[in-house]
Amino acid sequence: MRELRLMKGNEAIAEAAIRAGADAYFGYPITPQSEVLEYLMAEQPMERTGMVVLQAESEIAAINMVYGAAATGKRVLTSSSSPGISLKQEGISYIAGAELPCLIVNVVRGGPGLGTIQPSQADYFQSTKGGGHGDYRLLVLAPASVQEMSDFVKLGFELAFKYRNPVLILSDGVIGQMMEKVELFEQQPRVTTFDPAWTVTGKPKERERNIATSLDLDPYRQEKHNYKLQAKYKAMEENEVRFEEFDCKDAEYLIVAYGSSARISQKAVQLARAKGIKAGLFRPITLFPFPKQEISALASQVKGILSVEMSAGQMIEDIQLAAAGKVNVQHFGRYGGVIPAPDEVLEALELLISGGSK
């Protein structure tokens, strides 16, 4: 039986976490994502599934609670918005280094600093290039609808455990706050078995002790560990690229956008088509791994690419790398919490077509 509900993106994250069989959520309030914690507290998941929900004293504490729970093999998540995600970075780096699975949700707001509580996509670099210290990557999923907020929680946990790596859902204030119809997936059971190869659950006689750590003072062993991490990120690049295309088949001009910018750009593509411009939209769903090959192929086909992002231009660097100089790539963005309108995107596209730039 299909279960449809009208929900906010943040509420969908929370409901999906319970349904995905999450064991624990640790978080700290911050706009525009506080509904995640509020929904979970109101829903009393301990009664529904036995899931733990705790309001931590800070984002730092929350991510380290995640680290502890993840070390024991539990399915655990946290959510926050930009300033809070910045605070979590040390913990995220430890989680990546110790190879622990977990889910992190960033409902991005405008920065830098305290910035604004309005939507933004200016955390792209932080999300896709590492964020904290050291050579590591998160697997980054970018939902463009409330439906995907729900679906990506389930997918995120699957990928986190597949790779023993933190997965980030990179959302923004638009997707977090807007209400849409969601088809909820069925309740999944909570895990009851814990991989004896690595989970820290108490050492029985029959196995060696397990240790969750990112430390190895021997540089040669640490380098080896880094090789292993890099091989894992490479496997993600080979297996986990996800994207969506609209009107790309015959496109002469391409817009690349993710998340809420993709929604806005889709409208811009329709407006362009109505004017006789053969425009298409390419929406990366995974931002790491980035759909390099697909963009590279499209770069051979089209006459120009417009990167649309609510930032001063971050994703454009990855598009340019993928396009490798084959075609002109320009950025259009509003930022600081301002959301672009479809006609502004169209205008930027027409500017690109006419050979101009801003």
Partner: protein, 259 residues
């Protein structure tokens, strides 16, 4: 009679607990960390709870505690051990969970995590090694460094007017309703080792009964950081540290001990 005649099982009076590994300890000779490790592991062995115990190692000299303690462990970011332990304990309420932390870890960078884990009454044991200095990084001033005490970042002695006063974390957490057992001990003499071991046993027994947080400070020496011989360090500790951080129980069975 030769050595072989003496080394016989029936003559055995003491042996290392199998809950300590055979790895060579990285601690300086004379350091309190080794003794503290040993008695924690002895209590876990005596209680037969190795398979139900999860330890959390800090950042500090004891970052490698997991090399020596033969139990499952998680290594935490600097100061965050109480948060890591919270994450573990909330998911595994039936397990025994403890943190092992130095004073820089627990009383400087991790102050918030310490206070809030105590205040929430997490059912864990916190073992707090107070050696009044940052051992790991080479002897810098700690939040617990005594007034006038020299360190590499207070080379003329801790000037409380500009560097602040040493913080008595144990007194502070005893005030919080979430703590059930709060005590300050030492391990520089056999009698103190015995008392500290007893305190660890009480703390873990409390955990079994879900009584709240047990907090055990161990006033410790760091002869390397203090630039002393181990013997000098113990004497200095007794003459200077212990008068400032007096030993004894501060809170028992959830009640403050009247002085």
């Amino acid at each position: 009679m030769n050595l072989k005649d003496i080394i016989k099982p029936e003559n055995l009076v003491y042996s290392k607990t199998p809950l300590l590994t055979d790895n060579v300890m990285s601690y300086c000779p004379g350091c309190s960390h080794g003794t503290a490790h040993r008695i924690i592991m002895e209590v876990i062995e005596e209680m037969g709870i190795q398979s139900e115990t999860i330890g959390v190692a800090p950042v500090g000299c004891s970052v490698l505690a997991y090399d020596f303690m033969n139990i499952d462990m998680a290594q935490a970011a600097h100061g965050r051990a109480p948060a890591v332990a919270t994450g573990i304990k909330r998911c595994w309420p039936e397990k025994y969970v403890f943190t092992y932390q130095g004073d820089g870890d627990l009383a400087a960078i991790g102050t918030a995590e310490t206070i809030h884990a105590c205040n929430r009454g997490e059912n864990i044991m916190i073992v707090f090694i107070n050696n009044g200095i940052y051992g790991m990084t080479g002897g810098q001033m700690a939040p617990t460094t005594l007034p006038g005490m020299k360190s590499s970042t207070s080379p003329f002695g801790r000037d409380v007017a500009t560097m602040g006063n040493p913080i008595k974390m144990t007194d502070l957490v005893a005030q919080l309703p979430g703590t059930y057992y709060v005590t300050r001990q030492a391990v520089h003499k056999p009698v103190n080792v015995r008392r500290t071991k007893k305190a660890i046993r009480i703390a873990l027994e409390n955990q079994k009964l879900n009584k709240g947080l047990s907090f055990i400070e161990i006033v410790s020496s760091c002869n390397s950081g203090w630039k002393m011989t181990p013997v000098q360090a113990n004497i200095w500790m007794e003459e200077n540290m212990i008068p400032f951080y007096p030993l004894g129980d501060l809170k028992v069975d959830g009640e403050l001990v009247k002085k």
